[in-house]
Structure formats: C-alpha cells, structure tokens
C-alpha cells in the first residue's frame, strides 16, 4: 500500500472539505440552521467558474474573486427572503426550507448548465514533487488556498471585534443583544460569510474534479460527516476532521473501490453520532 501517496492525497482532498465544512459549521453555530443547500452553493460556484473561464475566456483569478462574492450575495438573498422569516419557527421548518432550496438550486443549475459533467482544462495543469510523490498542481493550490482561508476565518473569529460579536451571538444570543450587538445583522453577515466560503470551495474544486449539478449532494454529506466527526460548532474540530476524513476516503477508495470507499465516511459519521455525538473536539451543543 503506497502509504505516503495515500496520505498526501487524503490531506489534499481534506483541505477543500475543511473550507466547506467550516462555512457550514459557522452558519450552524450562529443560526442553529443546518444548511442543506450549502453543497449546492458550492456546485453552482464550481459551474460558474467553468463558465467564466471556458465560456467568457476570463482569467481564473478573476473567478476566485468574483464567484465567492456572488455566492455571498446569494446567501444574503436567501437569508433575507427565507431564513430570517422562520427564525422563531420550529427547527423542522428551517430543515425543510433549506432542503427545498437545495433541490431548487440543483434544478436551476441543470437548466442553466445541463445535466452533464464539465471540467476546467488548462488551469493549473502539471504536477510537483512532494516527499517523493507526484502531486497535481491544481490539488495542491486548492489545498493551500482552502486551508489558508479556513485559518484566516478562524483568526477573524478569535481575534477581531467582529469575531467576538459572532461568537457571542452564537453562545448567548440574548446577552449579546443586551450588550448592544446587533444579532440580526451578525446572523446575516455569518450566512453571507459561510456562503462565500462555500463559493470559494466551489471555485477551488473546479480545476481538480469533474463537475456536474449533482456535485452538491455528494459534497454536502461529506461536509456533514466532517462537522459531526469534528464536533458541531467547533471550528478547529472541523479542520482536523476534514483532513482525517480526506485520508479515510482516499484509503477507503483505494482498498474497496470509489463507491464503497465513500460509504466509509458516512459509516464513520454514523458511528461518531452514536458513540460520541459531540464529536472529537465538540463542546456539546445542546439543541
């Protein structure tokens, strides 16, 4: 078994999962909403990237800037039109709303881009040597960007005024509100930030994977697995679990084939749910 190769492959895969799961986790932490549409925002972002680079012949870095901003705007729209209006409704309503939103996004994506696979040829081709293993450049760049942005957002949450406001809105909304924090606006900003992170993950996925409108449903379960294994609401837990699950998926696929290999992730998730529901680093979020 080529251990180094599998480990590096797994960690590189985990980077994108980390970025996506961190956005999802952030939204859950502040809003207590499980965003089933998170993966579909990623898919729409990846497809938009292909359109920008292949269709409009614009440079890739422009997509890196434009698409996440677009996704953040989409997030603001979703929050204003739907989620803000059901904030005080029972939990089931927000689950159903984002689940419905997810199917709408998939359907719209199929209408715009068609149901087939597309890719991004000619961007970040080639490979580099890393610990004696050939690593494709696109995956390496994706990993570095994803981990970089995840850590930057973590820094933002830990050490800035905005970050403290987000954390207090997540831990004690009433007290935050009494202390003069505009919790509504923090929620809006968090949803926009989380959606933007999903958008960036989508841009980074585009050069490295085959993309289709159903991509979201494949990625969302992996992001769920990541935040459950890492601990819901725990930011470092999500990054750690993302890398771990990247390795599990790559090793599992190597041993048992791609289809069963990806099922390992869900089995691991179900196992953690049942044995240690608060996850590796979770503090035990009570719902």
């Amino acid at each position: 078994m080529p251990v180094t190769e599998l480990l590096i492959g797994g960690i590189l895969l985990g980077g994108v999962y980390a970025l996506m799961a961190c956005g999802l986790n952030l939204i859950f932490g502040v809003m207590r909403v499980i965003n089933f549409a998170h993966g579909d925002i990623l898919a729409v972002a990846a497809l938009s990237t292909v359109s920008i680079v292949v269709g409009f012949k614009l440079p890739f870095w422009l997509a890196v800037v434009l698409v996440p901003v677009g996704c953040a705007l989409l997030g603001i729209l979703i929050h204003m039109l739907i989620l803000r209006r059901i904030e005080s409704a029972p939990l089931i309503m927000s689950l159903l709303a984002t689940y419905a939103l997810s199917t709408i996004l998939v359907n719209v994506a199929i209408l715009i881009w068609g149901g087939g696979y597309s890719g991004l040829p000619g961007v970040l081709v080639g490979s580099v040597q890393l610990f004696g293993v050939n690593v494709s450049l696109s995956r390496l760049v994706s990993f570095l960007c994803a981990i970089g942005v995840s850590l930057a957002v973590w820094w933002l949450l830990q050490f800035t005024r905005f970050g403290r406001a987000v954390r207090s809105a997540s831990q004690a909304p009433e007290l935050a509100s009494i202390s003069g924090i505009a919790v509504d606006r923090i929620r809006l900003a968090t949803f926009a930030l989380g959606s933007g992170m999903a958008g960036l993950a989508g841009v980074l996925v585009a050069p490295a994977f085959a993309i289709d409108p159903q991509l979201g449903s494949r990625f969302i379960i992996k992001a769920f697995a990541v935040i459950i294994v890492g601990g819901m609401g725990s930011y470092p837990g999500a990054i750690l679990a993302a890398l771990l699950l990247g390795i599990v998926e790559v090793v599992g696929s190597y041993l048992a084939g791609a289809v069963i290999g990806s099922a390992f992730l869900f089995l691991l998730m179900l196992g953690v749910l049942l044995v240690r529901p608060r996850g590796l680093l979770g503090v035990g979020v009570r719902i």
Binding site: R32, I86, E87, A97, N107, S217, I260, F266, L267, V285
Partner: protein, 321 residues
C-alpha cells in the same frame, strides 16, 4: 352545510377509490396507483415526522430496502408480487428496529443528518455491491399486464393507514406521541416511555414504505439505486404532509391529492422544472401555511375543528442553546 369530519372525508375518498378502477381508463388507474403510493408514504411519514416531531429525511431508505428485497425475490425466484410485498414489509420492520434503537438516540438536526446519511449509504451499497443488485444497470421485472390487482392492494393499504392514523389521533397513544413532539423531557418525566414509543413510531413508519417500495418497482417494472433511493420521492412525501398539515389525520390525504395533481400537470408539461417546483411549493408552505391546508379548512369552517399543530408557540431557535 355541515362540517366534514375525518370519517366523512374518508368515506368520500373510499367511494372515489372504489369508482376509479370501475369506470376509469388505464391512465386513471395508473395515476391513482402513484397517488395512493404517495398517500401511504405521506401517512407513514406523518407518524414519525408529524406526531413525534422527528424530522425524518431517510424514509426513502426503507422504500429502497423494500424495493430491492421485493425485486430480488421476484427476479430470482419468481415470487408473486403480493408475497414479495409482504417480505419487503417484513424486511423494512427488521431493518427499522435496530436502526430506530440506534438513530433515535439522536435529536433534532442530528437525527435529520443521520437518516439523510443513512439513505445515501444504502444507495452507495446498492451501487457498489453490484454482484447482488446489478448496480447501476438496475433490475428489470416482467411488466404486469393488468394493474387493477396492484391498485386494489395499494388502495387497501392506504385505507388501513388512514384508519390507523384516525384511531391514533383519538387515543392516549397519539397524545403521548404528541407530548414527545411538544417536550420530550417533560413527557419522560410524566412517565411516558418515550424511547419505546419513538422506536415503535419509527418502525411503524418504515413498514408501509418498504411495502410501497416493492409495489413501486413492480409498477415500474424496473428498479435501480437512484430510483429506489430517490431524494425527490422523499421531498415529495414531506411536501405532501407539510402542505396538508403535519400531525393531523386529514393533512396527508389533502396534501397527497393536491400535490399529486399538481405534480402530474408539471410532469406532463414542464418536466425540466419538476424538482424546483416541488421545492418552491415546500418553501411557500413553510413560509405561509406552516400549519397546512387542514388549518385553513378549519379556520374557514369547512372542516370540523381538530387538534391544531404547534399549539404551544415553539421556542425560537436562539433560546434553546
């Protein structure tokens, strides 16, 4: 005009169901079978999702289990479809018992994610173990010549599900399940065996979908993993219950009839936006009629007053952390 109670509505539904195969065309029978399959799914989902209030995104897992158990029995051993259906229902119950025991320890969003993930695991297994399930190629069954026996079976099961729900709604058991939905800890402290009841509701809500999975594959004459574990079946079922009214006796019936007709029109005229339309219907229902059509009917005075949904205003999400 007198208000209609559940029994009155059921009587009308029963007469309508009896008339269809007598005077209806093949198309009407075929459409009615689909409607009734979804009706059964909706009533089953209502047990766990409506009464005990557990958001269940994995009902299609049992639908798929039933579809594969039934299809494989028919395909390999030429079992008659009604026996295959019974076997599928049994398989659903056998699978649901341990799964319910394990998964129902999870609450709220954890349960939703867990069941959602479970359905995807089973789909991956159905694709991956292609030695048994023929993977993505799917299993082709001999088409049924006459759909009427199938229709009668589905109609009978639908009637049973409606009557069971009506009985449940008027019983202590139903009140206990509602108590779990309103406040599980309080219910537990009143001496209600919440775990046992939840698992019971979970298993009860898995048996009929497994049977429907088998009948659906017989009806189509074909099954493959994306069909057996289709997320649009899940979404449509939930949409029906939500639109009609969760945790009510008549809600799933109203929702299933309205949405089946809407879906049929959409599917015939605009198949490319079918999924998005169902999604939009769910969104609109969430935003504007979270208590369902039943509530509108009761307010308008057409339906007899019953138990409204969410009597106690639910806690804002922010206060529960």
């Amino acid at each position: 005009m007198r208000q209609l109670g559940p029994l009155g509505v059921f009587a009308i539904a029963l007469v309508a169901a009896g008339v269809v195969p007598l005077i209806g065309s093949d198309y009407a029978v075929s459409f009615s079978i689909q409607l009734l399959i979804f009706l059964v799914l909706a009533y089953s989902w209502n047990l766990i999702g409506g009464y005990t209030g557990y958001t269940h995104f994995g009902q299609v897992a049992f639908f798929g289990i039933g579809a594969y158990v039934g299809s494989l029995l028919i395909f390999h051993w030429n079992v008659p479809w009604y026996l295959a259906m019974l076997a599928a229902a049994l398989a659903g119950a056998i699978a649901a018992l341990p799964l319910g025991g394990a998964m129902l320890r999870l609450k709220g969003p954890f349960f939703a994610i867990g069941m959602f993930g479970l359905a995807r695991v089973l789909e991956a297994f159905a694709l991956g173990f292609d030695g048994i399930t023929q993977g993505g190629t799917g299993i082709y069954l001999k088409p049924l010549g006459d759909l009427k026996p199938l229709y009668c079976a589905v109609a009978a099961i639908a009637a049973v599900m409606m009557l069971l729900t009506w009985r449940l709604d008027n019983s202590r058991l139903g009140l206990k399940l509602l108590a779990i939905r309103e406040d599980e800890n309080a219910a537990e402290s009143l001496g209600i065996p919440t775990t046992r009841l939840k698992i019971g509701a979970f298993v009860a809500s898995a048996v009929a979908p497994a049977a429907m999975g088998c009948l659906y594959s017989v009806y189509l004459g074909f099954i493959d993993p994306p069909t057996a574990f289709a997320s649009n079946i899940e979404l449509t079922t939930i949409a029906m219950v939500l639109l009609g009214g969760m945790g009510t006796v008549l809600g799933p019936l109203l929702g299933a009839i309205v949405l089946s007709v809407v879906n049929e029109v959409l599917w015939a005229n605009y198949p490319q936006i079918y999924l998005a339309s169902v999604g939009v219907i769910v969104l609109l229902a969430v935003l504007f009629t979270p208590r369902g059509l039943v509530n509108i009917g009761m307010k308008g005075g057409w339906l007899a007053l019953g138990r409204p949904l969410f009597r106690r205003s639910a806690q804002p999400a922010s206060q529960s952390s």
